[in-house]
Structures are given as C-alpha cells and as structure tokens.
C-alpha cells in the first residue's frame, strides 16, 4: 500500500485516495442513468436499417432533413462579424440591454402596463433551461421572505414528460414537485375539469408551471377561455404562475397569439415569471439564447429582485454569451428585419401544419383505427400521438421509427421521403399490437 515518500511507479499512477486503499476519490460517483432521449439516440445511431427515422429530436428539421439557419440570421451574423466596433469584454450578468428589452416587449407587448410602470425586467440566460433554473433559484431564495419553507412546484402531467423540468427545480433546492392533471389520453387533449380540481388543492404560494404555448411534449395548448378560468383560480388561491414560452411564433406563426397568456396574466395584475427561448424561432439552437422575464406587483421591488437575480447568475455562469442575443436583438429592433423574419417563420409553421394534415389524412386513408383529429388540433413542432408504450416500442424495434417513449414525435422530422413509411408504421403499430 502507498506510504508517504514511497517511490513513484513510472508507468502506474500514484493515488491520493485513502491510505491503505487504492480507491479513486471519485469512487462514490455512480453511473448516472442515461436520459431516455440519450438512450434513444444511441439506439438510432446503431440502427442500420435503410428506412430508419428519428422523430424524437428537439430541433426543427427542414424538408431535406437538416437543421438550418434562417437566411436572415445568416446575413446578420455576417454583418455582426464584420462590425469593427464590437468590443470583447464581459457583458453585464443580466445580459445585453437591447436584447432583454426586446425580449420583454415581445412577451408582454410594448404597451403593457407592466412595462410602462417599470414593473417588468428581464435577464438574458444561456438558453431555456438556464432561464427556468434562474427563476427557480429566485423563487427558492426569496419565497416567503427567505423563510425555511421553500414552497411546492406543480408541473403538468404526465410527470415523466416534465422530467427535466422537475430536475431543474430540484437542483435549485425545491424538492417538493407535484403534478396537476393536464393531458388526457382518452380525450387526447387537455382535461380542464381535472386540472382545476388539482390546482384547487394546491397549498397557497405554490408555484404553478404553465405552458403559454407549444406545450412540450403534447403540443396541446390551453384556449383563451381555459386561461381565464385558470388565472381566476390562481389568483384566488394565491398561487404563483411560472409561464413557459419556449417557441414563440412557432405554433401559429403569430408572435402575439403565442404570447397571449403572458399578456393576459400581466393585464390581470398578476406577478409572474416567464422563461423564454429564441432557439426555435431563430434556428439558433447552438447559441443558447434564453430569457427570464419577471413581472412584479410593485416597481419599488424591481431593483432588489434584479440585484438578487444578478447575484444568483454570478455564481452560476457569471455572464451569458452574447452572439445569439445580438442577432435576436438586431432582428427584433428593426421593422424590416421583423417582416422578413416573420415570413421565414411562416413557411416553417405552415410546413409543420401541412405535415400534420397530410399525416392525419394518410392514416384516414389507411383506415387506421381511432380518431386522429388531435394531430391537427395541436400546434407547433411536437405532436402527442396517443400511442402507448407497447406501440412506441413496436415502432422502434420493428419499424426503426423512433418516438419518445411517451408517444411524442417531432413533426418536422417527417418529410416527403419518409411520410409513407411512417404513416404505414403507425398504422401497423396500432393494428398489430394487442
């Protein structure tokens, strides 16, 4: 065993583990379970079948099956890189002011009372997860005046879909994660009645995480009427809304429409947090452009909450990266760019809608049992097919078509070349399995 001063074995490694034991200091680290997505992707990569299709990815894929850069984004990046006035220095921990201002406006609407009354501020974050994490940390730190109670967080069911969200809140130190009823398998949509029942039972001051649009992974969103009823309950039960806006404009090509829930809550005088991402709607996946919007009840609180956010950021990532945010700020600040951007987005959105239509129609023609209207009732990138675990496994094992275990698929990954095979596969999954 190793003794102090014993000679180094040239080819071996001298250890600084326990004296008398050859243990690595990392011995206690267990192998973390792979996320279902990682396992799925590995399986897909090893799959040699000629017609294999991966429908579980998170990015938007073009008709050619690739992720791509919006033409406008590419041009702006070129302009920015040729700009001689860029200064390489640390940005503020809260991010680029031009970006946070635009991101705040795009979520709340320029004339929002919250903005006019200086009750809203934003923090640029390295992506959507980081925005949720920052919001969770803010809530945990200052819930109920910093008392020991750190509150409860409600996520939409099924909880397995919200797995990563739950992990973020737990990492921020909020262990109590519960669910409220959301997706109903039989109705193949949102069950409002059960949702309201669950929230009615939530302890006061609980945080309720609600998807403003493009609910992941079901694609099933709440109607305006449903929002009105939910917000009434949230206000009456004194719950705190944490809204998610991961893909604004990607649902129906309309910025305002996707942000309506955020604007509605703010107009009701509610306090809220909203995590936004610009990855999807700008094709800036690799650049981690996220934003946490904070709307307060009183503007006297703004500075202190902002400083706390700053403090939290400084020990997490110190400052966000600027590249992607500059692109977004440039587009959102320029009317001509906005028009061009909306047009490029429109073609993406329309393609997704078309794929949903065509898939539904194909299944109808094949005579696939069941009702497939939910495919076109939902919007955005993701589609909750309603297929069960067995059927999903059938698809991957026997047909080499990969969906998330919960039965969700990315519609953009379907294209002219694989549509027939995929429709046929779904048909077989439904009719073949017991």
């Amino acid at each position: 065993m190793s003794r102090a001063g014993s000679s180094l074995n040239e080819t071996g490694v001298k250890l600084n583990g326990d004296p008398g034991a050859d243990l690595s200091v990392f011995t206690k680290a267990l192998t973390a379970a792979e996320s279902p997505e990682t396992r799925l992707l590995s399986a897909f990569k090893k799959d040699t079948h000629a017609r294999k299709a991966y429908l579980a990815g998170r990015e938007y894929y073009s008709e050619e099956g690739k992720t791509f850069e919006l033409r406008l984004v590419r041009r702006i990046k070129q302009q920015l890189s040729a700009d001689p006035t860029t200064r390489p220095e640390y940005p503020s921990s809260l991010g680029l002011t031009q970006f946070t201002r635009r991101a705040t406006e795009v979520a709340l609407g320029k004339s929002s009372r919250a903005i006019v009354e200086n009750r809203a501020f934003g923090v640029q974050t390295p992506g959507f997860t980081a925005a949720v994490r920052l919001g969770a940390e803010l809530l945990r730190h200052w819930y109920d005046g910093g008392a020991a109670r750190c509150g409860t967080v409600y996520l939409s069911s099924p909880l397995s879909c919200a797995d990563s969200l739950a992990g973020i809140f737990q990492a921020a130190g909020i262990p109590d994660i519960r669910q409220y009823y959301y997706w109903d398998d039989e109705q193949r949509g949102v069950c409002l009645e059960k949702l309201l029942q669950d929230l009615e039972k939530a302890p006061e001051r609980s945080v309720v995480v609600l998807s403003a649009s493009a609910h992941y992974p079901t694609g099933a969103d709440l109607s305006q009427n449903q929002w009105a009823m939910i917000t009434k309950l949230v206000m009456r039960r004194r719950l705190f809304p944490f809204l998610l806006l991961p893909a604004q404009a990607l649902c129906c090509g309309d910025l305002e429409r996707d942000a309506w829930p955020v604007q509605y809550c703010a107009s009701q005088g509610m306090e809220l947090l909203c995590a936004q991402s610009f990855s999807h709607c700008f094709g800036l996946y690799g650049e981690a452009v996220g934003h946490l919007l904070c709307v307060l009840k009183q503007n006297s609180l703004l500075l202190s909450v902002q400083r706390q956010a700053d403090k939290i950021v400084r020990s997490l990532w110190a400052q966000p990266s600027v590249g992607g945010a500059q692109v977004v700020a440039t587009v959102l600040s320029n009317p001509a760019h906005l028009v061009e951007w909306k047009q490029e987005l429109k073609s993406i959105v329309e393609r997704c809608m078309l794929i949903r239509e065509v898939l539904r129609e194909r299944l109808r023609l094949l005579g696939t049992p069941g009702c497939w209207d939910h495919l076109t009732q939902q919007g955005g990138l993701y589609c909750f097919t309603g297929l069960n675990g067995e059927q999903v496994e059938f698809l991957s094992k026997r047909r080499h078509v990969y969906l998330l275990p919960i039965g969700c698929l990315n519609v953009s990954a379907i294209n002219g070349r694989n549509l027939d095979y995929i429709a046929e596969s779904i048909h077989l999954a439904v009719t073949t399995s017991v």
């Binding site: 490694v13 600084n16 326990d18 220095e89 980081a130 650049e287 400084r314 997490l316 966000p320």
Partner: protein, 410 residues
C-alpha cells in the same frame, strides 16, 4: 402582496461599481486600473487577430450543423482543452483517464466541479467537506462553492502583506492542519488578485503535503499563456500535480487568453485514476449540466477548437497571447523603474516579481481613496491594479500619483 416583498437590496459588485464611477468621472486624466480585461496601449479592448480570422471562417462555413451541442459540449473543444492544459504528450491523456465538460466560462466550470464534489466527493452529499480558498482570492470563488451547497468555506494563508510576497509557511501550515479530504482551490498561475505565484520548489512542497494528507486539488486556470507568454510554463504546476498521480479538476477559462470574454468559453478538465472512474464522473456531471444550462453555447467553443486543432492557427494564437503578455511585462517593468526613479519610498520589486494581469501594489485603503478621489486613478480597495490599464501615455501620471499617495497619505 408580492412574494418578493422581503427581498433585501444586495450591494452592487465592487469592481463593477468602480467602473461605473470611473465612467461618470469627467476628469480628462482619469485612469481605470480596476477592470479585469486586457487593454491595448490605446486603452482599447483587443480582438485577437486569429479570433477575427476564425470567426469569419465559421460564419462562411456552410457545412456547420446548427443543432444543440451535446450536453458535455463540443467534443473537439473538450479534447483540445485537455491537451492545452496537460500537454500533447500527457501520459494521463494517453491512459484515457482525462475528460472534460464544456462550460460557461471559468465560472461555469468551477460551478459544475463544485456541484459534483458536493454530491459525490468525500461521501455522498457531504456539504461539510471544508473548502479552502486563498486569502485573498477572487470574490466569486466563495459564492460559487457556497451556492453549490458547501457549508464550510475557509481561507488558507497566502498573501504576506508585510513582505509583499507569498506566506509559504502559513500556507504549508494550513495544509498540514486541514482535515483530510479537504478541497483546496489553487490558482494555476497569475494569482488573482495578488499576482504572486509559488515557485516550482514551493509547488513541490505544496504537492507533497497535499498528497500525504489526501487533500483535493481544484485548479483555477484563467490565465494560461497570458501570465508568462508561454503555455507550458504557465501550466507547470498543473502538470506537476498530474505527474505526481493526483486526481484533480482544472477549471479553464478562455476569456482572457482568447479575448472571448463575452462568448463564455470554459472547460472543466477532469483527471481521474482510470477511465472507469472518469466515465462515471462525467455521467454525473452531465446530469448536473442538464439542470443548469443543458446545452452550452457553440460559438466560442468553435472558435477555440478550430484554433487549437489547427497547427498554423495554434501558432498564430500563441503569438497573439505573447503579444498581450509582453505588453503587461513591459508595463510592469516601466512602472517599477518610474517609481524607483521618483524615489518613491518602499520597495517596488514586487511589481516585476508578480505575474499576470494583476498586481497587489501594497497601497492601503486610505491611499487608494486618495488615488481615486484626488488623482482620478481607479483601483480596488485592496490595492489591486490591472496592469492592462496602464499605457505609455498614462504611466507617468500613474507613477506620480502612486508616489504622491505614498508620501502624502499614511
């Protein structure tokens, strides 16, 4: 009632407040020696020529995919970072027991490392493991480890104010007395804020005690290449520890040596006993990253990776880094000479003995206040100056101001 009603107003961060005050100062002779970034002789931030070149290449490259990066980051970036830190011929790399996690700057790397250690080191979820940081150290070190959950952050002796150098005896004593398995945060080179590094012999003594007492070495490496102008020299301590068989972490930052402050490029290099321990460790780090930022930003990592992995670009980068390091060395030299020429009381050897961006001048808080208020020369209350704030234009004024501060203010 707002749920945020009781949020107390946190004080502003000192160094940013200093810069804000500097901006508002209307005096034409004002000098900012507080900021922690490189400045040219014209007092401008500097985009490294190699970075500009590589950025254009990336923008023009039509073949790049635009997907999310893997959670652990760009693979070519991570492997190149390990090589930069440990050397191309590192036996540890050849043994497949070195890995990396791309992170948001040096801070991100520190945080991921800290979160891992709090969960999996010295037992499971042991928040009581003592974490030692140098006295003084970069303020954020404290926050990162505290927010990662550690309850016991302690200082270790480092700066000897009386002798304006390293308090080696104090340091070694702290190492001997630290509970076994304690974590020690070490600055790989160019100590922030003192600029004072242990010599090679002093590093050997530190390593000997740490090995004997099973202390964990967590290196903060934010200035590789920037300190001496030589990558290998600035990595000597890290490489020595690895050759001595330590398992360790290195939080690397490319903010200063690539001038990529705003792209947040960092890497947490992990050296483990063997590849099996390494992969378990990385799997847990992936889990931690998933709940922090999930996928790191690609831009900065692409720039660094392209540069490090291409021999010509790598050589060009080393030249750029040396340019920055040389300018700092020149300013150190000139400041010391001018103070000596002015006959400023005290010894000023520490200015050229210290290394890297920062220098602990030894000015006391009253003298610092005088510098700021009367001379409009902005520096940290600790007496720390950023050598990059000095230029051939302002160095005479600064030297004179220091002279006045030392002679007029006790």
């Amino acid at each position: 009632m707002s749920i945020f009603s009781d949020v107390p107003l946190a004080p502003p961060v000192a160094v940013f407040k200093l810069t804000a005050d500097f901006r508002e100062d209307g005096n034409p002779q004002k000098v900012n020696l507080g900021v922690g970034a490189y400045r040219t002789d014209d007092c401008q931030p500097w985009v490294l020529p190699v970075v500009k070149k590589v950025e254009r290449m990336i923008v023009e490259d039509g073949s790049l995919n635009h997907e999310y990066l893997p959670i652990l980051g760009l693979p070519e970036f991570r492997s190149a970072s390990a090589k930069v830190a440990l050397g191309d011929d590192s036996p540890a790399i050849k043994d497949n027991r070195v890995g990396g996690v791309q992170a948001l700057g040096g801070t991100g790397a520190l945080r991921i490392g800290a979160e891992f250690l709090r969960r999996w080191y010295n037992g499971v979820n042991n928040t009581a493991t003592p974490v030692y940081v140098s006295a003084p150290t970069w303020e954020n070190h404290n926050s990162v480890f505290t927010d990662a959950g550690f309850k016991d952050i302690r200082p270790y002796h480092y700066w000897d104010a009386a002798n304006r150098g390293l308090d080696l005896a104090g340091l070694l004593d702290d190492l001997e007395k630290a509970p076994e398995r304690s974590i020690f945060l070490l600055h790989a080179c160019a100590h922030n804020p003192t600029g004072t590094d242990p010599t090679q012999d002093e590093w050997k003594k530190i390593a000997e005690i740490m090995k004997r007492r099973n202390l964990f070495a967590f290196f903060d490496s934010a200035y590789q290449g920037f300190a001496s102008g030589n990558l290998e020299k600035d990595a000597w301590a890290i490489r020595y520890f690895v050759s001595e068989g330590f398992e360790l972490f290195i939080a690397q930052s490319y903010s200063k040596n690539f001038g990529l402050y705003n792209e947040r490029v960092g890497n947490l290099t992990v050296v483990a006993q063997d590849s099996e321990n390494l992969s378990r460790t990385l799997s847990q780090m992936e889990k931690i990253v998933r709940t922090t930022w999930s996928n790191p930003p690609s831009q900065g990592a692409r720039i660094v990776s392209k540069t490090l992995n291409c021999p010509e670009l790598f050589a060009e980068w080393k030249g750029n880094v040396k340019t920055m390091a040389d300018r700092v060395l020149l300013m150190r030299d000139q400041l010391k000479s001018k103070l000596q020429d002015l006959g400023t009381p005290g010894t000023w050897d520490h200015i050229t003995q210290q290394i890297g961006m920062f220098s602990f001048t030894g000015l006391n808080p009253k003298q610092v206040e005088y510098m700021i208020k009367e001379k409009h020369v902005y520096l940290m209350a600790s007496g720390r100056i950023n050598m990059c704030g000095l230029t051939t234009t302002n160095i005479d004024y600064v030297a004179q101001s220091i002279h006045d501060a030392v002679t007029k203010v006790q």
